[in-house]
């Protein structure tokens, strides 16, 4: 069990390093469906922009 724990700790540290380095260019929001999957330039929301009306997402269907 300790080997798994050490392996997970190393993997997690590496992952955090990668995610930290990737900044906001990494998308962790899961699979895209519907228009999200085919839309060429997804708009980014700011304070004055309309909220993205999210399409349904079958992310959890694993």
């Amino acid at each position: 069990m300790w080997k798994i724990a050490v392996g997970f700790a190393i993997f997690a540290a590496l992952a955090l390093y990668v995610i930290g380095k990737g900044g906001d260019s990494l998308d962790m929001s899961g699979e895209k469906h519907g228009a999200d999957a085919v839309h060429v330039e997804p708009a980014k929301a700011d304070a004055s922009a309309p909220a993205p009306a999210p399409a349904a997402d079958a992310s959890a269907a694993k």
Binding site: S29, A37, P42
Partner: protein, 587 residues
């Protein structure tokens, strides 16, 4: 076949069974996150040349890949798994999945082969959806049927940890490739590398799975000639089984799905879209909480062998239903206290003709909501503004009142012309001034350009006027990182992930134990995929529609709260504890 509880360490064979099954599931998650992370690039490569009508059809097909094909895959492969065996069926699902993923990596794009490119891509997505529908049930059944009684929760929980591993693996491969070849090359051709790399994982997974033995329960049943000849009819055509399938769906998987989705994906969405936290910070916060939370899958899986599956799963749903509102409000205070203060202080009202206001439920993402009322609500929901609704006379365009300031939503050509003239005057003054302010000139030039475009002029004017009114009401455009309380945010997110582990850690064991061996694969796969795909998958669009409708950014939480609450009641009343069930009793 180990059927008695044993206080012994896991055998080498059992470790191999868990490893082989989990590796395939990691592979699926890897693919799942690849598509999510690379969606913008893939869309550019494959869908950029499509007209609006074709894009609409492809959007519907992409939707179908997740919502219709997966449950269908559960039926197709569930039936096969109950008829020809678990091992060969989930060997087929992983081959189908892996081959489809690999082909995406070598598929010519729209520029090379035209419309055939998106057609083939969508076909591959449909095949992957089909394979996904069969994979999880197979892995869970296979591991559970190898586990000794009394340890099924602990053994199957390993499969549940693979979501985090798959996520991180995909991010590492994507970022590694991007760093190695550069952003431009990655957008051009490098995005294919993570898909092509998946062939390595496929070969390893297939090699290991080929060396595995068939589930002992299935071998015994087959030897005795007791396998089901028609698993679908038996599972869904007989009320005694169908009743359990329905209960598994609404009394377990529906609640599990919304808690899972809220804890991981909605929390991230809420941080970035509602609380205006920058993507980099939100990603790292969620990643840390996932890492802290992941071991709890095993903890709750193992605990469910001691105290039962039902109390842990339903406690997770109950805690979610009772605490989501205060927890998400606490998240706002910790991540963006200025927003919390602005919401408490300002009075925003949308005054609109109710006939113009839609319930903006848009599961396929293909509908357009363009009335003045819908646009007003989209804008305010996007800015995380709480607002109330007032009725305007029929036919009146909607307006927004921010304190004493009134903001029009629709603008006439005269309004646009006046605003454009004003912007041009400002630009001229900036150009004449010394020293020149390059940033201000750039912004003023952009403003003139946007107001000159007929299509965007109205939206630009609304954004500008509403932005100014909200700024005056102290609504922050983004979270102030100096006031961002990292520790509290991580604690809150970790709590949400721990709820996920409570509902998800023991669920594979519980679903397996609810059905007899002869129809287990079929019967458990369908409620799992409908529960997770439909109830979980519809969360973002339903939550947004509720937020826009009611004018309160927390009201989207009613969706997971109601579903989780219903699961607590139905599961609590009608679902029996299964941890001590002899899963071979009916064989």
């Amino acid at each position: 076949m180990a059927t008695t509880a044993e206080n012994r360490p896991m055998s080498a064979e059992e470790k191999k069974v868990i490893f082989a099954s989990s590796l395939g599931t990691v592979f699926e998650w890897y693919d799942f996150y690849l598509y999510g992370s690379l969606a913008a690039i893939i869309a550019k490569q494959f869908f950029s040349g499509l007209d609006e009508g074709s894009a609409f059809i492809f959007a519907l097909l992409a939707f179908a890949a997740g919502f219709i094909v997966r449950p269908f895959g559960a039926l197709v492969f569930g039936r096969l798994g109950d008829m020809i065996g678990r091992k060969y069926t989930f060997l087929v699902t992983i081959l189908l999945m892996g081959a489809s993923t690999f082909i995406v990596g070598i598929l010519p794009n729209y520029a090379s082969i035209g419309v055939a490119a998106p057609v083939i891509l969508i076909c591959l997505r449909l095949l992957q959806g089909l394979a996904l529908g069969g994979e999880y049930g197979g892995a869970a059944t296979y591991v559970a049927e190898h586990a000794p009684a009394g340890k099924r929760g602990a053994y199957t929980a390993w499969i549940q940890t693979t979501a985090t591993l798959g996520l991180f693996l995909s991010l590492m491969v994507i970022l590694g490739t991007r760093t190695a070849i550069g952003e431009e090359a990655f957008a051009d051709w490098g995005w294919r590398v993570p898909f092509i790399v998946s062939i390595i994982m496929l070969i390893i997974s297939v090699y290991i799975r080929l060396s595995m033995n068939e589930s002992p329960a299935f071998v015994k049943m087959k030897a005795e000639g007791k396998t089901s000849k028609a698993p679908l009819s038996e599972s869904f055509g007989q009320w005694k089984n169908l009743k359990i399938v329905i209960l598994a769906l609404i009394g377990l998987t529906a609640g599990q799905a919304v808690v899972w989705y809220s804890g991981q994906f909605y929390a991230l969405f809420f941080l970035t879209q509602a609380l205006k936290v920058d993507g980099a910070t939100a990603n790292i916060m969620v990643a840390i909480s996932l890492i802290i939370g992941t071991p709890f899958f095993i903890v709750f899986g193992a605990l469910s062998d001691k105290i039962g599956r039902k109390p842990i799963i339903l406690a997770g749903c109950l805690l979610a239903a009772l605490t989501y509102f205060p927890v998400f409000k606490a998240l706002t205070k910790a991540a963006n206290p200025d927003l919390a203060a602005a919401q408490a202080a300002s009075q925003v009202v949308v005054i609109a003709d109710p006939a113009e206001c839609s319930f903006q439920f848009n599961p396929t993402g293909t509908k357009k909501f363009t009335s003045s009322c819908d646009i007003a609500k989209q804008r305010l929901a996007g800015a995380s503004v709480s607002y109330s609704n007032e009725v305007a006379p029929a036919g009146t365009p909607a307006i927004i009142k921010v304190g004493d300031t009134t903001v029009q939503v629709k603008y006439s050509a005269e309004d646009v012309a006046a605003a454009k003239a004003k912007a041009e005057e400002k630009l001229a003054a900036l150009n004449a001034a010394e020293p020149k302010d390059a940033k201000a000139i750039e912004a003023a030039t952009k403003s003139v350009k946007d107001l000159s475009n007929e299509k965007t002029a109205g939206a630009t004017l609304l954004a500008s006027n509403l932005g100014a009114a909200l700024k005056a009401a102290n609504y922050p455009a983004k979270a102030d990182m100096a006031k961002f309380d990292k520790v509290t945010v991580i604690i809150i997110l970790t709590y949400l992930v721990i709820l996920v582990t409570m509902v998800y850690g023991p669920i594979a064991a519980m679903l397996v134990e609810m059905f007899p061996t002869r129809i287990r694969y079929t019967s458990m796969s369908l409620p799992y995929h409908i529960g997770n795909g439909w109830f979980g998958g519809l969360l973002p669009t339903t939550a947004f529609a509720i937020v826009a409708q009611t004018g309160n950014m927390y009201n989207g939480l009613w969706y997971p709260i109601i579903i989780a609450g219903a699961t607590v009641v139905i599961g609590g009343l009608f679902i029996k504890e299964t941890k001590d069930v002899d899963i071979y009793a009916d064989d």
